[in-house]
Symmetry: C2
Subunit: 777 residues, 2 copies
């Protein structure tokens, strides 16, 4: 993990390229080249539909929020253990497009490949492949493929295939397949889990091949969801025949050409998540017809425009390190792809790029990803928060199951809003999820200045989550009357079921204050909204007072000798950690090699915990305090989670440890593109991807929005000549450029604003106004 | 739970009698009338083999230690989670003996029953039933049955059936059945568990019916064990025909008589646990033949002699309360029945009386049951300790799995010596099992004065268990350099995964001292044994020193304000418990109605925890200290475990709260016979049964063997005229009699001894010598 790795892909600032076909790297590359628009996700598999052995390839096509469930079995069950699993369901595959040169199937595992190149062009959002292939029988042809998942039309994916014979005149056949004989790979991908869906559980209701169209409609066996998908083909070339075939689980159309051929395939995926069940097939067919009518060129132009617009807003330009530039853009591109925009679903810890974590949504989104969108595309933040708001009733029910008479408890991992963690110590016990979600609501409202959202949704979520904090603990005489919270697991998953986890208590503190503040603000500024809320959730006037009291008295474990806040009450009682006792090959995933009790008894942490709390609430801690904790926890943090290094990196920036900050950032920026964790095959790490953006903006540029003010303290990493990014704040947009000569802030839109740079307040008077400060840090 | 319950059975000092047949009480009565000799266990089902609906009856025949295993499935698996279950296996049933009066089957659910009486005669160890039955067709007959499980021949059970026609002359048929179509009821009995064996997993190898013999041999599908069982019939009466029948899973013999008939059935159960697999069938047939040759009368006389001898040693006679007398004897009788005597198996928490807890062995045996045997039949203690010694290698492997480089960690629940708890927080985390077992070894050696056993087995167990304590924790500066133990669960199962559980730490302290003492004693007294041990376990000279250091510095959480030791570090941080918030119908089994996190966050306990530690190590605490803790924890202990009330009762005796002591004892003495917990159907509660003996001997009589001395401080409960019991100590035997007039101690055997009564030392000079003290307490 230490030190730079050799880049896996050539360093290119705007693209990721594979220059040779290697089955050994296939599984990982499928993730790198996965495409998504936050609704459809498809892995970067080949059009030929190779049947790679398990653990070397996984065909995957998903709709965000579309899951199948199965019974979870426990050796011993206890009340409130989730009874049903939820797994992002592997849907029928429509990408398969087999090419035949005469009687020989195009197959890269055979014959000779020349001029191979597969590229994800992050500036266009299109994945292309081109090569010259010579069959074992000596036929040579150029093959080119293109693919994108439309950012303009969420149900649409588009493919194009070019076949150009180079040394023969005979027939070229193209076979397009709809394959519904698909199933999840949950257990194959993760031997630690043992729940469904096992086998194929999508039940076909309709399958047809006719009129250049393959079409499928089906429903899940258990979760009661419906999907419809299909494709339409447009051909160019000397077509001499076509034929259709359908069986129970697949259908196909074969086109025969005399010589060169081009196929455009328009693919639709729709589901009962966002269309009425009755009209689903008709809806899907309609969307497909429109896409085909619009045509490949129009859709691809639209795609490029959307991607261009994304970069105009979200790009972070690095002058001086193309590898970092590439890694950062790779991260931002995948984040952009993964974000659901319709409020019906969240963002999986692995986006829609694979089946890791069963496609579940965790706290990663709220704590790591949403700050990126809040400062670039606040509407995306809003729609991801909408998903949490829309599942508030499920969280209310869960709170009752946990014995809380009032309030809402969000699930540790979920797709449909209900808890589906099958392991209590590292699942439901992570109560901090509640405060994390509340924090994201609160931050969005503050940064976007969106008081309408506060009234409509955020205040309700803040109050309902605060209620659980007000019930879960108690004022303990043994801690001087302070409010203590027992039996929770904090972010650090190498420690479980502790008392007074610092992160949890501090985040609960913030949650309680934010809820009380929200109620006071409504009461003062919008009597109707205030009354509507208090009636809806039966809020008593005493509650906000009680929340404030609890927050004021929140206990935070502290060690006088070291002058550090402790990760939890038991932290100093655990065994001093001796990394050297663990053989190197067992170091990465302790849970696969050591019993949980052994792990929990060591005085170390898997990931940022206390220092993450200090980052999220940096307004309460001075620089020296943060530095002391960074040093203290840095020594015992193993960074076995992808959520860790970036946090330490940002803190390092804040306390002036610029070299360490840069080292952490470097890893974070290229963690996935260089597969630092060795598990990229299972999907992207969205939290760390976001963390690399945060490292630049919160870290290097020192962004701080505490107290509702925009503050910056930028520095320039030594290796760079400069960097530039854009930022949304309070309905305004800014461009920040940092160079050796200083820092330059230009207002791009919105009302005038005072901003603070290196502690000094400057006035920006609206669009076009700018500030230039020499680097006076 | 408070106040006396009406007795279920008539109060009889030496027997338990059912005076009418009631299917509603059948399930519970099957446990009350269960018979065992510690090897064979058989539930008190009827000879007719009624097919009662689930939850109203369970045919069960078991061999101690004979189990089947199946894969345990976990929603999420972690390293070191047990992969295979172990369940005491329900074996072929040989008791079924159907009676036909002409064409009408004897069936108590039909016709008319008169003079019904079923009695467990605790003085003979024989279960009898007699009744007059009139069939729906008007035939009347007297039916009598007798049954016992031989205490003399562990593989043998004997049955006798008498049928006497009262108003007809026709045929009487008796059908004897061997039914191997049997399976466990694990899931039916406990909806919280989800592991096997599912269905019938015993595979028949041989099944035959001929020459008055039914015979079966089979093996388990998974655990690789073999069993052979069979029966031989002796008939009396005018037999006119016999016929045999065999099918794949059962066989039977029918005898036809003209008029009255008697059948004696000799039943054998044997297994590969205690016979070579190859010769198993021959062995079983041989044992069966010998038993039949000996005959019913000889075996039943031997049975009576054995039981008589048991009572001569173990009886506690109560003068003044027949209900208590009956309950106490019921408890002692079932304990005597349940104890394995061959070192191949332990004692299940429910003996061999049912399938509750899958027949697993827990700490109940060592902490509750063994003290009874150590003071009555030390050889039984020794053979139960032998079982632990014989599974030491499994415990060593388990310690490695838990990350301990040296030592042995005994499993929380097991049959074969390997951990099979499927739920970490209330399973493997209960490390105290290690100290409990060590405590039992140590106590046996001290009380029996058996230094040979110390050399041969106990010292090794003490050292190996101590090594885990020396590795699991650390000296923590944050606790003044004291030794802290994190992430364990103590006896109280309403709290899990805590730091510094008082019970655990104090018992570990004892374990460490005892191990160090054992090594020093060997070194001083037996150089060969010392060298053999140090070589065998590679004991370094530093280890005992380190154990002493750790013990000296053991941390015990203490609250200065209340001046009480705390159950664990987090005890005072939990929410004050408010019983009134829990509806009465949900109060008994919180885990079935509340989420574990809710339960763990409450400042209460399911059962005795801190006070149990104080009882086991009462030498370290003065009376005032114990009283303070009794009061403090009495307020927050729910007694939802059968292991709790008896402990509080004994402590109440020690601190002079005699009324409370008597109330607790009363419940303890009659807990099972009056089914206080409502789950007696699933099996006896061995720990509490032992607890009622401890309540008299440790409680009322104030027995204390601390420091290797025999001390007594008897008092007489107000309601009684007197009580008397016998006691083994240091190879000597004594009779203690307590009356209003004073306390009388007579030496029955052995060398002279100084004993202390009410703090005053008396000399007993050997057999026949006695002391009489007026009650001077």
């Amino acid at each position: 993990m230490n030190g730079k790795k050799q880049p896996i892909y050539p360093v290119e600032p705007w693209s990721v390229t594979e220059t040779s076909f290697d089955t050994g790297c296939n599984y990982r590359n499928e993730t790198a080249f996965s495409l998504s628009n936050g609704y459809i996700g498809t892995r970067g598999t080949f059009e030929e539909g190779y049947d790679f052995p398990e653990n070397t390839g996984l065909e995957g096509n998903y709709i965000n929020g579309f899951y199948e469930s199965a019974e979870i079995r426990y050796g011993e069950w206890n009340f409130g253990f989730p009874e049903r699993s939820q797994s992002l369901l592997n849907l029928p595959n429509l990408k398969t497009t087999r090419i035949f040169l005469g009687g020989e199937a195009f197959d890269m595992r055979k014959g000779v490949i020349r001029d191979y190149r597969r590229t994800l062009d992050m500036r266009s959002g299109i994945l292309t492949r081109s090569l010259i292939w010579e069959s074992p029988g000596g036929k040579r042809a150029r093959v080119e493929t293109q693919r994108f998942v439309s950012l303009a039309v969420k149900h649409i994916m588009v493919q194009r295939v070019f076949v150009t014979p180079l040394n023969f005149d005979g027939e070229v056949r193209i076979l397009s397949v709809l394959d519904a004989d698909v199933e999840n790979h949950t257990r194959a991908a993760n031997p630690l889990v043992d729940y469904g869906p096992f086998g194929r559980t999508l039940v076909p209701d309709e399958i047809s091949a006719e009129n250049d169209t393959l079409f499928y409609a089906g429903h899940t066996a258990n979760s009661g969801m419906k999907t419809a998908c299909g494709c339409f083909h447009k051909l160019t070339g000397a077509k001499i025949a076509e034929s259709y075939e359908t069986d129970g689980l697949s259908c196909r159309v074969e086109y025969v050409f005399q010589g060169a051929a081009t196929m455009e395939k328009f693919i639709v995926y729709a589901s009962s998540l966002d269309s009425s069940e009755d009209g689903l097939s008709g809806f899907a067919r309609g969307v497909l017809e429109k896409a085909a009518n619009d045509g490949y060129d129009a859709l691809s132009e639209e795609q490029k425009a959307r991607v261009r617009s994304f970069w105009e807003t979200a790009d972070v330009e690095i002058d001086g390190d193309d590898a970092i530039q590439q890694g950062l853009r790779f991260n931002l591109f995948h984040l952009m792809q993964s974000a659901n925009r319709d409020g019906n679903a969240g963002m999986g810890a692995k986006g829609l790029s694979g089946e890791g974590y069963e496609g579940h949504y965790f706290w990663d989104t709220e704590i790591y990803v949403l700050p990126v969108f809040t400062h670039t595309f606040p509407d995306i933040t809003k729609s991801l928060l909408d998903y949490r708001f829309n599942t508030l009733d499920a969280a209310r029910l869960r709170a009752r199951e946990l014995g809380h008479g009032k309030g809402a408890l969000y699930p540790w991992r979920t797709i449909n809003g209900f808890e589906c963690s099958a392991y209590l110590p590292l699942g439901t016990a992570q109560y901090h999820i509640n405060a994390d979600i509340a924090y994201a609501f609160s931050q969005y409202v503050k940064v976007a200045g969106d008081t309408d959202y506060l009234k409509e949704k955020a205040a309700e979520v803040l109050c309902e989550t605060a209620r659980v904090w007000a019930d879960v603990g108690c004022f303990s005489e043994a801690r001087g009357g302070k409010y203590c919270i027992c039996s929770v697991t904090g972010p650090d998953e190498y420690t479980a079921l502790v008392d007074n986890n610092f992160y949890t208590n501090l985040m609960a503190y913030g949650n309680l204050w934010d809820a009380a503040d929200a109620v006071r603000w409504l009461e003062k500024n919008d009597g109707d909204a205030f009354r509507a809320l208090t009636e809806k959730i039966e809020l008593s006037p005493d509650e906000p007072k009680q929340w404030e009291k609890i927050a004021s008295e929140m206990y935070l474990p502290f060690d006088e000798k070291e002058q550090v806040y402790l990760q939890d009450d038991g932290f100093l009682l655990r065994k001093p950690w001796d990394d050297s006792l663990i053989p190197p090959e067992k170091r990465r995933l302790l849970y696969e090699n050591y019993h949980p009790l052994f792990i929990w008894r060591q005085r170390m942490a898997k990931q940022a915990d206390t220092v993450l709390a200090m980052l999220l609430h940096s307004e309460y801690f001075d620089r020296e305090t943060i530095e002391r904790h960074y040093d203290y926890y840095g020594k015992v943090t193993l960074h076995h989670s992808s959520l860790s290094k970036c946090v330490f990196g940002i803190i390092a920036s804040l306390i002036g440890k610029r070299e360490e900050a840069y080292r952490c950032f470097n890893e974070s920026a290229r963690m996935d593109i260089d597969d630092y964790h060795g598990n990229f095959y299972a999907g992207i790490h969205t939290a760390n991807m976001a963390g690399s953006w945060l490292s630049v903006v919160y870290g290097f540029a020192g962004l701080n929005t505490g107290g509702g003010k925009l503050k910056l303290s930028p520095f320039l990493p030594e290796a760079w000549r400069g960097y530039r990014f854009r930022l949304s704040f309070g309905g305004r947009r800014f461009e920040i450029s940092v160079k050796k000569s200083g820092c330059f802030v230009r207002q791009l839109s919105g009302e005038p604003l005072d901003i603070t740079i290196y502690g000094k307040i400057y006035r920006l008077d609206g669009e076009g106004d700018f500030i230039k400060c020499a680097n006076t840090e």
